[in-house]
């Protein structure tokens, strides 16, 4: 049985937590931009968290379901209807055969994630279902979803009725036109002039329209290095902030290349990457300095929190089943 794409939306791709293990082959990691929202969406439909979701951008797709299942939409504040009746985000949604889920414009934030029970089924390519548009591999034939595309998914029957969702406070990172993002000094931080170091933390940087899944190109006070030391390309990762000769920083995102040769002024702490992923062109980023020790503590804390969310949602499911 199938789920048919009636409208692909602005940019909808299949993504999981990334194609790790092949960076030595020059293959980008890709994967979801906002791992928090994608994992929570998966938990809400009873998944483990690392299954593939549909990453939607700005305006979402319209999907026709010929199956019984359960879905959840998390992330940016998208206007969302089921058979033309508004439905809420951040909670499980029962789907009956014949239902049409339409995801409209995003009012706050930028990206959302549609999870389905069991995960979106596309072939694994190099151990991942993530779409890599540059290499044209993974996801749905290596490209964004288009009208007429079909997914084959199993029916998930015997579902209890549900009346619960993720509390409001956990979604607060989506909101705001100015976003504070914590960073740690990068490997080449010392190469920058004292004025540039100061400006990097004291001034705001605008997300420009040439930002995409590969990188966020920011615009603000020009950043300069003291000595133009020739750099040898080295590994870069999600959240690495490079400064090319233009002096305008680029934050590397999910579809980044594996290596880079520009000075790295800073590294975005992993737990703040979802905040950045939800910033849209025209919005402003304020970088705030922190330490590696703190970044590591936040990382471990976030993983413990994710385990708690998973347990809590599992219990909700158990209760709902018992009550039915």
């Amino acid at each position: 049985m199938t789920v048919r794409v009636v409208d692909g939306g602005f940019l909808t791709t299949v993504q999981d937590l990334g194609r790790w293990g092949f960076q030595k082959d020059g293959v980008s990691v890709s994967g979801v931009m906002d791992a928090f929202a994608s994992r929570i969406a998966n938990f809400l439909v009873g998944n483990e968290g690392d299954e593939a979701t549909l990453e939607i951008t700005m305006v979402g797709p319209t999907l026709h379901f010929a199956i019984e299942t359960i879905v959840a939409v998390c992330g940016g504040d998208f206007f969302c209807t089921l058979n033309e009746q508004p439905v809420s985000l951040w909670r499980p949604i029962r789907i009956h055969a014949g239902d049409v889920l339409k995801i409209g414009a995003c009012r706050q934030g930028y990206r959302g994630y549609i999870a389905v029970a069991g995960g979106w089924q596309v072939p694994l390519v190099m151990n991942s279902r993530s779409t890599d548009r540059k290499a044209a591999i993974g996801g749905y034939n290596g490209r964004p979803l288009e009208k007429g595309d079909e997914f084959f998914l199993p029916d998930v029957v015997d579902l209890p009725s549900l009346n619960w969702g993720i509390p409001y406070w956990a979604q607060s990172y989506i909101k705001g036109k100015q976003k504070t993002v914590r960073v740690v000094e990068g490997p080449e931080y010392a190469m920058f002039t004292p004025e540039s170091k100061e400006q990097f933390f004291s001034s705001m940087y605008e997300v420009t329209t040439s930002s995409d899944r590969m990188g966020y190109r920011l615009y603000g006070k020009k950043l300069e290095t003291c000595n133009a030391r020739e750099m040898v390309s080295e590994a870069v990762t999600f959240g690495t902030i490079q400064v090319p000769p233009s002096g305008q920083p680029i934050v590397l995102m999910a579809d980044r290349q594996t290596t880079g040769g520009y000075p790295r002024i800073a590294q975005v702490v992993a737990v703040d990457l979802p905040t950045l992923a939800q910033a849209r062109p025209g919005q402003y980023i304020q970088f705030q300095r922190t330490t590696w020790r703190e970044a590591e503590r936040l990382y471990v804390q976030r993983e413990h929190d994710m385990r708690r969310w998973k347990m809590m949602i599992r219990n909700k499911w158990r209760e709902a089943r018992g009550a039915d």
Partner: protein, 229 residues
Amino acid sequence: MIFPLSEYALTVRFSDEMNEEVNDNAHQFARWLEKQSIKGIVEVVPTFSSVTIYYDPLVLGTYEQVRNQTKRWLEQMEETIQPKARTIVIPVCYGGEFGPDLPEVARYHGISEEEVVRLHAEARYKVYMIGFAPGFAYLGGLPLELATPRRATPRRVVPAGSVGIAGGQTGIYPLATPGGWQIIGRTPLSLFRPTHRQPSLLCAGDIVRFRPMTEKEYRMWKNDDGSCR
């Protein structure tokens, strides 16, 4: 020098400079680490003069702990004998429709097309690193006599397998992409094989040699699966 790249990655830089020996150290460490199959290591990425280790902090611990562990790994590796580098021969059909810029490269240097091919195919190249694109190898060892500036106007599409020269570098396009390199030939081999256990044909540290082939051989080869191992 060891430094953190993120909460889940650290880089071991063998030197700020890049030379053959430093590059060898980086590849050897990366290969040795991979062979150990250490639980908690997600992947190992060698570059020109460094190795980045991606790890799971919930398994291997904090940066401090992983850094100390890395120092022990470096010591352990030194006690083991390193395997010799692999040599990979890449057949190339030079000139003609596959190498449209061969005449230009020859003219630029004031030598014959045959001489360009001879120089290019006689040299021994080393894969300094893989990066930029899936399966793209940064090769060292292009004879100085062949260094040629990029084309004034880049091509909208350069077919996969194209062998080109840009400045002092030579390389092979793994995927069809736009590009400004001087294209002197094409190989029937697939440099990037997504369904393969080892998707990139070339690995950091490999030795590469080019072997001229005729257009007829190229066409016959193209019917095979493109694998040369």
